[in-house]
Symmetry: C2
């Protein structure tokens, strides 16, 4: 079945029905799809934090201009990039590839050097920007999968990342908050759900060569 | 139907069967799904260039370390960010929202000011980084939609963006190349299609609070 209809159905939900929760099967499937999101070189240099705790969500809401989605959605999903994307991180990834693919570690030396070369070329800032972009692929996969499952979602960039990191204790974990997705079910009186979807017309968005 | 199986089926295709092309209906559906990708504030500050022209693809291949996907895939899809995300761009977007949603222009003044405030806060570099992240949402949607349709794809970051911009004449159009996706059908002898998919295990990727 085409994804066009689900993608037309979805919208950035502003008001969630706080009484409706994802079933554990739904949450599991949504996270599994997100886990499968591709990332550059397969590094997945991020973690995905699924917040249900009410008290923490109240604090996070304050750090996100009071937006109700933070507390009223079924779950708040936080994407956080690894801040220490160094040679040890890469070596660890190669260990894991070796194990999963049953390829001798030494046969992955070239691959490891290639990754290290790519990563070492980047400044710390560029490295985080690069990881952050990969996070947005995962966000795209999550939003598409949610739509396909009839789950509402709201991607959110309007929050204080430093405060989020502080509340969640991310600095100690060498993580930093990148972007959020509140997931759940729209409130029937969310007026935003009635708005016409605005997308650039084909002739403006696409160039055919 | 769950997206888990298609997402497991897909992989970054290294070798395309150059004799197999997407039908025009497939290309149309894939682009329509990508057009529906969400973006911050709905700005979609990018264009999507669908390249079929052989001669241009030969040149682009040289600017991408000779990678065969550039020429052998059915289509090469290039995501390019708008480099001039200024007040005129935003005003134009608001005009379009007003038209599509049949809301009087003056009733969108607050929305317009909010966007301008958000965008003006950013340096030129931050603005492009922000647009680039939105591009990666669209990339995530495209890769998911392709998988769902049984279309192979290879997301690609390994290219010389300045050379791509030059070959495609993007500077004059106030665009810059961000990321690529080659789409088509895998060659039966692409050894990468046989590799076990490596993704961080659940207990490492997810934190539940």
């Amino acid at each position: 079945m085409s994804l066009i209809a689900p993608l037309n159905w979805r919208y950035a939900t502003k008001k969630f029905d706080s009484t409706q929760k994802l079933s554990s099967a739904q949450l599991d499937e949504l996270l599994k799809a997100t886990q499968l999101a591709p990332s550059s070189i397969g590094l997945q240099a991020y973690k995905i934090i699924v917040v249900e705790d009410k008290a923490i969500r109240e604090k996070l809401r304050e750090a996100a201009n009071g937006q109700s989605q933070i507390t009223d959605a079924s779950q708040l999903i936080i994407f956080a990039s690894e801040t220490r994307l160094d040679e040890a991180y890469i070596a660890n990834y190669i260990d894991y590839v070796s194990e999963k693919r049953e390829i001798a570690r030494e046969n992955l030396a070239g691959f490891e050097q290639m990754i290290k070369g790519n990563v070492n070329r980047l400044s710390d800032e560029q490295r985080i920007a690069w990881s952050n972009k990969q996070v947005y692929i995962a966000l795209g996969v999550l939003l598409t999968a949610a739509a396909e499952m009839g789950i509402d979602a709201c991607p959110m960039e309007g929050f204080n990342a430093a405060q989020f990191d502080e509340i969640l204790g991310l600095k100690e974990k060498e993580l930093t908050t990148v972007v959020l997705a509140a997931v759940g079910f729209r409130s029937e009186d969310d007026s935003y759900s009635k708005l016409v979807k605005v997308r650039k017309p084909e002739e403006e968005l696409f160039i055919h060569i």
